[in-house]
Symmetry: C2
Subunit: 149 residues, 2 copies
């Protein structure tokens, strides 16, 4: 097991969780900056060639976990591993962002859904996608269908 360490922090327009779009059809198109710590700058070499990045970060303002919970997108409870709840056994969040440009240790991105000053744990290039015709979205598709109906 390991102790997490920040490689940087998110500059986000969201100062409070209530400001982050949630629930069915929520769009994450906010612009933000991934501010990487200077000592990790060599790790960004060649990152500007990728259009999308996987950002792994810490839910640093969430405490404890809940194995069953009702997400904002439904009125029924689901297992934490079938949702994006912040109250997880390991408080790890994940967001896919679009990389707009790099300025040194600042990655300007679109699509942030993290709070301002969220610690960043890792960045990976986003490489593949599952074709939509092969993707099943479980309870979320059902919740959407119920709300449409």
């Amino acid at each position: 097991m390991f102790t997490s360490q920040p490689i940087g922090f998110v500059n986000s327009p969201y100062k409070d969780a209530s400001e982050i779009p949630k629930g069915l059809g929520a769009k994450h198109e906010a612009d933000g900056v991934l501010k990487i710590l200077p000592e990790f700058e060599p790790g960004l070499t060649d990152i500007e060639g990728f259009s999308h990045l996987i950002v792994i970060w810490e839910f640093d303002r969430s405490h404890g976990f809940e194995l069953l919970g009702t997400p904002p997108s439904d009125n029924r409870p689901h297992g934490v591993f079938a949702t994006r709840s912040p109250r997880r056994p390991n408080p790890i969040g994940l967001t896919i962002v679009e990389l707009r440009r790099r300025e040194g240790i600042d990655l300007h991105v679109r699509g942030v859904d993290m709070l301002h000053r969220t610690p960043i744990l890792d960045i990976k290039p986003y490489l593949s996608s599952i074709p939509s015709e092969r993707l099943r979205r479980g309870w979320l598709a059902e919740a959407e269908a119920r709300q449409r109906g």
Copy 2:
């Protein structure tokens, strides 16, 4: 910051890193089982409705990190955050797997690229995909073009 804790372990056909397909065109189609610890079983509720899962896990047999390294898919060095290198500041790995079936605390999946007994940190439903026409793959696309040429 937090200390990671396993929510389960991977049953994988790979006992040594040398057995895992790597480099350009490597396919990850191996079958494996995500064996979740019994105390976390309620967190799996409704997970069987999703076709694909994001598995976040720990590079537990990797030590230290290297900000610049040459991946198996190229002969030029790249920044660690532009690669999937195991030698990262936070030793966090990520794999998207296809969920074939659930048997209690056992998730039978396809597409494992982890070593046997790798600690699992988190599981999230895989929900979205970036259309391939909007995806740029940076140095990896260039390395592929060089090898084809």
